[in-house]
Symmetry: C2
Subunit: 454 residues, 2 copies
């Protein structure tokens, strides 16, 4: 997969060298020679990855990285910091500034391209979700994805070395719930059980750590789980293999507690971000078919489901009947007790409505004070029983307002059974006529539409 | 990236051999020894890819592939057919059965793993979209993604060889609009212009075809565009490089017209599928904030936007005012002329409402016959002007029903300007009180809430 990479270094020669190596592998390259430019280019050009030199005058790499990661417009772009020395303090400082990884000068091609490919692959799926969310009007109302560093996390640590396990666990955030094991089968079960991070020691004897990583990635239930692999020092091949299998990050033995802590935090933060993006999208989809006030399905949803049930009935399937219920004198409730009281009545009405239904039945708020129940498999006789049960549950006891007042409420209901081949609108019209008959006959009653086929 | 692969072959020895090679590369493997089993395993285990032998007794590979591709539960799984001979007819027959690619026995590892990686990467993003869509209640109402083979398509063909271009173009579907070029810059412009497929001749002199593919993949606007690359025969390295860069499919010189047609159709079909998934999701997100009847924003959306505008006003930003409009005697319209007429009035009311607004203003159906307009930057005086304009546009001419009848409609409006630090509910309550005052004072008028801070 090709991608656009921003190379940042104050030494023009370094920029040109890295640019040539990246272009030879068919990457597109854009460049900057100081921190301020890097931030501007990242924002304007939205590269897929940033290779950022640490040692720069005026604004150094840490500061530049922090600013890129603080800005919602560039936060999602992976940053790989390039350091002259392989210093523990530099790595931790960089990770704390939000860097996704490090490369030490001189950079070897194998490590660099394995890292780049791995980060780009992870970014690809997130980009798709991010784009769907940000392009929608919903983005404005669900707000920015928030990061909560103190959120509890479930971490699975796999190692056959008890001292290592103990040291890894000690480095993790205090709120983390940690499960330690040296058994891959147990690790898979734990991973499937809502884990947030898997730390796999690939240097440990007694099990095949890469195989475990592959299993986790092959299983749809754990495909998205971040994996941090502990690798042998100077074993580039093992590190590259792990990254190619889909491991999210690697850390070398001997494991530095501060570095493990920083890398774990990065992985947990990224997972929370992805989880929130997914749940925003899922909520959006849910909202599309839900009435916000009552939590019932909405008109859009019920119309489509009713059409499906009618098609099935017309094709020789089970019959389908419909209830159309309208709260009597609802406007009077609103006008007398206010909109809040009216909303409360609508919500209470909805819960009484749902209580009396079979699991198969589908209830929806059709608009205003009007509700629809679709009863697949039910004939007119069963619809009448359900409608009468609803009518009496509404009439049976008053509706409590927030000030303790109890208001009597009644409902009028029209019922109709779909004819073979009848159009949706025709069925709804017949139910509406029956409802109108119930209203004119004095309300608080059930009337059935004429069952003779048109 | 690891994944689960289903290996199907009636010869147990072939299954074991392929299984061992895949496992050595850390893939998870499941197996089947006949077509019926393959279909059952594909459905139950949902592998990420299927390697399917063509020559099998009872149900052969073509038939098995067709059935897998006809079933919505397995349609999305890439199928690579394994043939004993490299026969043109076999390839075309397989592609027409829905196969995504071919491998010829004996299979060489480099080609196989490049192909597998490429197909898995493409599947990864689609899976994410598919999962979001299928897990939502919306899936039931948007229905299956439909394939329309005859849909028009825009195809960009890049080659410096005019005879080749001409032959490629002749093989494409008759409804395709074809743009031919030998200039990469022109190809990029055409690709960005809603192209559905890019065919790049990598054997052509005069331009760097791989570089063009990389550019297309690096550009967010064309990242999803399918690329079919024409490669030199027996040049495995070129083919692998192209696939690694993100090319979707490859075809060898000399290009067989039937094979090019079949491979193009496969790419176009996959793109339509992905496009439809994306638009289903986008529509879902849009529906979540839209009132289905009027097309205005809904209460959920306007509440959130009002809160943002009020926060900004409280933090020293521009003022914000609110209109709360309620159609007079709407129930009477519904009861007299029926629900269809009522819906028509609501829709017409919405369009008159929007006509009179500034681009900044946000209008929403708040529920039933009640509408809200949020006016950022507007004080009470401007809100009064807008409200009066709306009132007179409603009162000014009757509302036409479908039978030609014209019904007079009026509206009562309450307006309020947000106080610094005022809660959303408090502002809405003040607007509601003003609306109530307009109703009790005889309707068809505008009343303003008391502007003194509470």
């Amino acid at each position: 997969m090709s991608a656009r990479i921003l190379v940042v270094d104050d030494q023009a020669a370094n920029v040109r060298l890295l640019e040539a190596r990246l272009q030879a592998e068919y990457f597109e390259v854009c460049t900057a020679t100081n921190g301020a430019d890097a931030i501007a280019v990242a924002k304007a050009e939205q590269p897929d990855l940033i290779l950022l030199d640490v040692m720069m005058p005026v604004m150094d790499g840490y500061d530049t990285c922090s600013r890129i990661k603080d800005d919602p417009a560039t936060r999602h772009i992976p940053v790989v910091m390039v350091t002259a020395l392989d210093q523990r303090e530099d790595r931790i400082r960089g990770l704390e500034a939000g860097a996704d990884d490090f490369l030490t000068k001189p950079i070897d091609d194998v490590s660099m391209f394995a890292r780049i490919r791995s980060l780009l692959r992870l970014k690809e799926v997130l980009d798709e979700l991010r784009y769907r969310e940000s392009s929608s009007a919903l983005a404005g109302i669900s707000g920015d994805v928030q990061d909560d560093i103190d959120a509890p996390a479930r971490v699975v640590v796999v190692s056959a070395d008890p001292r290592a396990t103990c040291r890894f666990a000690a480095a993790l955030p205090s709120k983390a719930e940690i499960l330690e094991t040296h058994d891959p089968a147990e690790a898979i079960i734990a991973a499937r059980n809502d884990a947030d991070l898997l730390i796999v020691d690939l240097t440990s004897p007694g099990y095949d750590g890469l195989r475990l990583c592959a299993r986790i990635r092959s299983d749809a239930a754990t495909r998205q789980l971040p994996i941090l692999a502990v690798v042998r020092p100077a074993d580039v091949q093992q590190a590259v293999r792990a990254l190619d299998l889909g491991v999210n990050d690697i850390i070398q033995r001997p494991v530095d507690a501060g570095e493990l802590a920083a890398r774990s935090r990065t992985q947990l933060r990224r997972k929370r971000y992805a989880d929130q993006l997914r749940s925003h999208l899922d909520e959006g989809m849910e909202m599309a078919v839900t009435d916000a006030l009552t939590g019932l399905h909405n008109r859009r949803y019920i119309s489509s489901r009713l059409r499906q049930a009618m098609d099935s009935a017309s094709n020789g399937g089970a019959p389908v009947s419909l209830l159309l219920a309208d709260i009597d004198h609802f406007k009077h409730i609103n006008d007398t007790y206010g909109h809040d009281a009216g909303d409360r009545v609508l919500r209470d009405f909805s819960s009484r409505l749902q209580t009396g239904l079979r699991a198969l039945d589908l209830a929806a708020r059709y608009g205003g004070e009007e509700f629809v129940v679709v009863m697949p498999g039910a004939g007119l006789a069963e619809a009448r029983i359900a409608a009468e049960r609803l009518r009496s549950s509404i009439d049976g006891s008053g509706f409590d307002l927030s000030d303790g007042t109890s208001v009597p409420v009644t409902v009028s209901i029209g019922i109709a059974q779909a004819h073979r081949g009848e159009a949706l609108d025709a069925l709804l019209r017949r139910a509406d006529e029956a409802l109108y008959a119930a209203k004119t006959a004095g309300r608080n009653q059930v009337q059935a539409a004429d069952n003779a086929a048109a």
